[in-house]
């Protein structure tokens, strides 16, 4: 019977093309608005590293001002760590993998006389950064632990940078002048664009990954400039770069990989002991308050999904509801126009259930058509957001297959929900009253 109902639905839709188009348009508008905001929220709140997001932990230590907490909440913690903590925790090596990191920048001088120097973004990290975050390599490999400690001038290039400077060829072993220093290329990444950019949300959770990756300790060696946010609760003791590094200013992120709950508990114990040691040395004057947050907890804590995006999501659902209410009205009108046919079908043996299914299939077809048109509108909406907000939103405005399925499912469900009352009304049309009146 389903194919019969489908055929009847097509005939019915063709019979009232304007009414049918209005319903499809109403659903399409609602679905389009909803899917635009759902997609943005979905990308914002997606797990960027699902295979191990519960094993990677962001480290926070309360090294802040004894008289004021880092944020409004009394127990809020600084969102980054100081150079002292970054280097001390790395030296302690208490986790399976660990990497302190920071963002920076320098001028690249590409080889070749015609190529112009340009500013490139740099991620300073330890070698564990790559396996810890499952960063894929196109050529070469990460630098070694020894090269980390020896502060060797080695660099890993993003694929885009390698394409730009070396034309996409295997550049491992080549030299590259960065910030006036000669570096050796040890690896080239495959396209890698975690969304959100979870490992450092302080510089923007939806920014592009960096163009270059180099050993963290070169920050001190080459006096590389600070990138991202730098916050201090007291001014550094002294002038210059060394004084900044030894200050209480926070500009560094610390991630550890801990395989299970025991390892997590042990690492937290270690952090508390470390804080107690620092307290004994006159630092960490606030109550001991350290925290490990896994990837999704950290995204939540940092409010990666912005409040206004959530509000937009709810508003778009309200808009969908309004569109569905309009659809209910249109369906009522359409089904009332079919009263004579419904009466006839009832007379010749259709049960209420048969008619309910017939009209539900028709409603579903309208919903699917609305969903498909809504997908088109959502696509335009996402392009609009991308155009409006530029690079910031570029990475948030693409739909994957899941979103397409969600759009169609949402259209189908919402149209069926909208169709229930009109369908119920249609089924309850008294046949006797309609058969004389045709």
């Amino acid at each position: 019977m389903f194919s019969y109902y489908l055929r009847l639905a097509m005939l019915s839709i063709k019979r009232n093309p304007i009414l049918s188009s209005l319903m499809v348009a109403a659903i399409a508008l609602g679905i389009g608005a909803c899917m635009t905001t759902i997609t943005v929220n979905y990308i914002m709140s997606a797990d960027p590293i699902p295979s191990k997001s519960d094993k990677l932990f962001y480290v926070q230590l309360d090294s802040w001002d004894p008289n004021n907490s880092a944020d409004a909440d009394e127990y809020s913690l600084p969102s980054q760590v100081t150079w002292t903590e970054a280097t001390n925790l790395m030296r302690a090596k208490k986790a399976v993998r660990q990497s302190a990191m920071a963002s920076s920048g320098a001028v690249i001088e590409p080889p070749g006389q015609d190529a112009k120097p340009y500013n490139a973004s740099i991620r300073l990290a330890f070698t564990d950064f790559f396996p810890m975050f499952e960063v894929p390599f196109l050529y070469g490999a990460p630098w070694s632990h020894e090269q980390d400690q020896a502060r060797e001038q080695v660099v890993v290039l993003s694929q885009e940078t390698n394409d730009k400077i070396f034309g996409g060829e295997n550049s491992v072993g080549n030299s590259l002048t960065i910030g006036g220093n000669v570096f050796t290329v040890v690896g080239v990444l495959k396209q890698w664009e975690p969304m959100p950019k979870f490992y450092d949300v302080t510089t923007g959770a939806f920014n592009e990954p960096e163009e270059l990756y180099m050993p963290f300790l070169l920050k001190e060696e080459l006096e590389l400039p600070n990138g991202g946010n730098t916050n201090c609760w007291k001014t550094p003791d002294g002038e210059g770069f060394k004084a900044f590094l030894q200050s209480e200013c926070i500009n560094f992120q610390m991630w550890v990989e801990l395989p299970d709950e025991n390892a997590e508990a042990a690492y937290l114990d270690f952090l508390n002991s470390y804080a107690a040691e620092q307290k004994a040395m006159g630092r960490f004057q606030r109550p001991i308050n350290n925290r490990l947050s896994d990837v999704m907890e950290w995204m939540e804590d940092q409010e990666v999904v912005a409040d206004d995006a959530r509000i937009m999501l709810w508003l778009s659902f309200m808009f969908l509801l309004v569109c569905l209410l309009n659809t209910i009205g249109l369906l009522l009108s359409k089904f009332t126009g079919k009263a004579a046919e419904i009466g006839l079908r009832r007379a010749v043996g259709a049960s209420k259930g048969d008619l309910f299914m017939q009209h539900l299939v028709e409603t579903g077809c309208i919903g699917l058509a609305g969903g498909l048109a809504g997908l088109g509108l959502a696509y335009l909406g996402l392009i609009g957001i991308g155009t409006l907000y530029g690079d910031f939103a570029k990475n948030m405005t693409s739909m994957d297959l899941t979103m397409v399925a969600v759009a169609l499912g949402l259209a189908l469900l919402s149209s069926i929900a909208a169709g229930l009352y009109p369908t119920w009304r249609a089924c309850n049309i008294a046949p006797a009253g309609q058969l004389k009146s045709q």
Partner: protein, 241 residues
């Protein structure tokens, strides 16, 4: 075949209640061709709707084909209508978007026949009404008489034991009306029981039995001539008044 005992049907509003049928008693035997006549508002159509299980009633009992149908639920009534009753309406009630084949197919779809059985029955019933060569035509491409023939084919396709016709020639000219009546008589000759509501005494005369309904009751059986006379008196009074 059809037995109604003391059937009462009341239409109620906030202020009044109107008896459409009152202690309505009727027996129709297997193979009969009964014409139901009576003035407008006498309850003929209400009777037909109740007989066809399209409406419920408020009192009395009704059995059809040996089964008490007074208290069937909606699904069972639908099934009963589909299997045992064929309907012919004054305004044909064809679905305009469907061609003749698909119009005749409508009751068969709800019967659960497979496609080859449906095709056989559709072709056979359209053949019977002389429209087998126009299966792919839409109702709008046919004359009124032809449309009513399609409606008859639709009613017959399910091979019902009982055919209910409500003013089947009411929308047709005399020639077409006679042609449709001839068809109904043929169908009756083949064994299908027919109950037909009509205003037209000349058509009623062609039935095997006439029943006269007045004020919701079955009045005595009238001779056709007496009924015709009464009808003309009613018409004259109406025009004088």
């Amino acid at each position: 075949m059809l037995t109604m005992n003391n059937i009462t049907k009341v239409f109620r509003t906030d202020l009044v209640q109107t008896y459409a049928l009152r202690e309505f008693n009727l027996n129709v035997g297997e193979g009969e061709f009964v014409a139901v006549t009576g003035p407008s508002g006498s309850g003929k159509t209400t009777f037909l709707n109740i007989a066809g299980l399209l409406e419920t009633f408020d009192g009395g009992s009704y059995s059809l084909d040996g089964e008490d149908v007074s208290h069937l639920n909606d699904k069972a009534r639908s099934r009963f209508r589909n299997e045992k009753i064929g309907f012919i309406f004054q305004s044909f009630n064809l679905i305009p978007d469907l061609n003749l084949f698909d119009n005749v197919d409508v009751p068969l779809r709800y019967r659960g026949f497979n496609s080859s059985e449906r095709k056989r029955r559709i072709e056979q019933s359209l053949e019977m009404v002389g429209l087998a060569n126009r299966m792919k035509h839409l109702p709008s491409q046919l004359s009124g008489g032809q449309q009513q023939r399609v409606a008859i084919a639709r009613a017959l396709a399910g091979e019902p034991r009982f055919l209910l016709a409500d003013e089947p020639t009411g929308n047709l000219d005399t020639k077409m009306a006679h042609s449709v009546m001839d068809l109904l008589k043929d169908i009756n000759e083949k064994g299908t029981t027919i109950v037909m509501v009509t205003h037209d005494p000349s058509l009623a005369k062609q039935a095997k039995r006439n029943i006269y309904v007045r004020d919701g009751r079955v009045s005595e059986l009238h001779e056709v001539a007496a009924f015709a006379e009464e009808e003309s008196q009613t018409t004259a009074k109406a025009s004088n008044g």
